[in-house]
Amino acid sequence: MNRPAITALPTTTPPLLDVRNLVKHYPTRTFWRDSPPVKAVDGVSFSLAEGETLGLVGESGCGKSTAAKTLLRLIEPTSGEIFFAGTDIAKLSPHSFRPYRREMQIVFQDPYASLNPRMRARDIVAEPLRNFGWDNRHGGERVADLFHRVGLNPDALRKYPHEFSGGQRQRLGIARALALNPKLIVCDEPVSALDVSIQAQVINLLEDLQADLGLSYIFVAHDLAVVRHISHRVAVMYLGRIVEIGTAGAIYGDPKHPYTRALLSAVPKIGTNRRSERILLKGDLPSPANPPSGCTFRTRCQQARPECAERSPQLTDNGAQHLVSCHFA
């Protein structure tokens, strides 16, 4: 099955989601003094069109999950703007934000931990419906419908989460996210806890749902191949910032940022013997509480030059909406 390929964004319609300079800092305190805050997300901007999937990749600690959860205000942003269909939802009071919960939902990484172990499957999926005033009869029909939609048997309705396999649990999580007919679903590592064969089932399900319902996805994952497969556009994050963003084809076919290149070369590949081309990064991720000056990647970058420590590079468009944050790209 093929889905419509979104290669370039139509510039006339406003994007569904427009994030500008999103920041999340966590204050830290030691015994005797305030230490610098942990800059989990440090000025992230991107936009997302209706029906589009934006992949967010990076290594653990790069802030991709935090950024995604901040969009839904599961984590309160420190500053920045989040325009959803034209409204800045970052500034709304909790009360006026609540209706937006119907529009934007989330699928979590750990399908077991995100389901209340003491609730039956049908109550788990019905919870959002009850929250927004569906009565029991219509709610029941909707739940049965959703079970069918995500490929769960009707006899699963009465089961508890521990009676399901990993893949089925994630289907349950997806059914719950779909319940209120949202426009946007944030998928936070939805397949990283699943085996390859089950992972394929869930990815295909997500793609089918997008084709049928016109959903937009923010797809957070550390698996570069999965992101490549499902995303129209991809943003690569490093230490709380987007270092490169563009169409999946551009990012994977012609990566410009040294970090993206290193990341791609580190992925083990089947069939091609490309060991010689591997760029091995030195050392570990610097602390996000005390990131390097200038370009934050310079401490591990093989192309780093003195000026990288002085000036911090900005995301600049190299044409065709392929933005890179490197002085030498």
Partner: protein
């Protein structure tokens, strides 16, 4: 292919697992976690054991050092021979001599084998003093060399650090240096990079490959990641539901996978190298899920999920056999493996 024919193979295996059956016994039933699995590890070889969760790969690994707790785990048959010595009947005292000395193991979570209240140096030195009768001073010096060997900067300083002062990748290195301290003949690596990021994974796999070259350690790499296996291993064993379903040289397995399960796994993996304009490929699913291992197998365990299954697959257990006369060390447990090998299977 340049690999010698097994009959003429001059090197005896250093570790040989034969017809191993491990069951977990509980009141609710018997789970046949490993059901008649055999493989051999030759010196300085890297053998990959791949499969999805519940396929028995980790149980096999733990069983080599007899680390599975008595009940519920039960070795119901088979043998594990290390340099010809039977381990399944070996005494606990003998096993303690071997563990961490001749056969070492590293785990997915380094903190399972690192003691949080001792410094890294103390832990490495302790192993050396115990197994190699080194003096305290000599052990400490050797511990520093080990950290240097696994690429930890400032090794003499870092010996005094506690595990929590290390980052995830460094802890994994420290655990590897601990496992390799006594220069073991065999290293069993159980998902050593699963918890790590790709860039750190690349560093660790590079390190294992280098150690194998320099120290001649034979490595059993247990993983769910076919990509890692493809890049590092010499031979691969594919497991499904407690059975070995396919075994081959790494190049043969990935260029001509013969068991439908292996083929399914490869097709289910999204690739990086899809050309941007090639159109969108839908991932191949393996329908259904893992069978219950509480019933004894009556046919092929994979048959219910297999697109190529025929009637005989449900009633008869396929034997592991060479897929073709010209490929005697490419084994698969499937009636239709020959067809797959010749490319006759869709």
């Amino acid at each position: 292919m340049t690999t010698p024919h097994p009959d003429q193979s001059p090197v005896a295996p250093i570790l040989a697992v034969e017809d191993l059956c491990i069951a977990f016994v509980s009141r609710d039933g018997i789970v046949r976690a490993v059901d008649g699995v055999s493989w051999q590890l030759r010196p300085a070889e890297m053998l990959g054991i791949v499969g999805e969760s519940g396929c028995g790969k980790s149980v096999t690994a733990m069983s080599v050092l007899k680390l599975l707790p008595g009940p519920p785990a039960m070795y119901s048959s088979g043998s594990i021979r290390f340099r010809g010595e039977e381990l399944l009947t070996a005494s606990e005292a003998r096993m303690r001599q071997l563990r961490g000395n001749a056969i070492s193991m590293i785990f997915q979570d380094p903190m399972t084998s690192l003691n949080p209240v001792l410094t890294i140096g103390e832990q490495i030195a302790e192993v050396l003093i115990l197994h190699q009768n080194l003096s305290k001073r000599a052990a400490w010096n050797r511990a520093g060399e080990m950290l240097d060997l696994v690429g930890i900067p400032d090794p003499r300083q870092r010996l005094r650090d506690y595990p929590h002062q290390f980052s995830g990748g460094m802890r994994q290195r420290a655990m590897i240096s601990l496992a390799l301290a006594c220069n073991p003949a065999v290293l069993i690596a159980d998902e050593p990079t699963t918890a790590l990021d790709v860039t750190i994974q690349a560093q660790i796999m590079e390190l294992l490959a280098r150690l194998r070259r320099e120290m001649g350690t034979a490595i059993v790499l247990i993983t769910h990641d076919l990509g890692v296996v493809a890049e590092c291993c010499d031979r691969v064993v594919v497991m499904y539901a407690g059975n070995k379903v396919e075994e081959a040289d790494v190049s043969a397995l990935f260029s001509r996978p013969c068991h439908p399960y292996t083929r399914g796994l490869l097709a289910a993996m999204p690739g990086l190298d899809v050309a941007a304009d090639a159109g969108h490929r839908r991932l191949a699913e393996i329908p259904g899920m893992l069978p219950s291992l509480k019933q004894a197998a009556v046919g092929c365990r994979f048959a219910p999920r297999c697109a190529a299954a025929q009637e005989r697959c449900h009633g008869t257990i396929p034997e592991l056999a060479p897929v073709a006369r010209e490929a005697p060390d490419h084994l698969a447990a499937c009636f239709r493996a020959g067809e797959a090998y010749r490319g006759e299977l869709a």
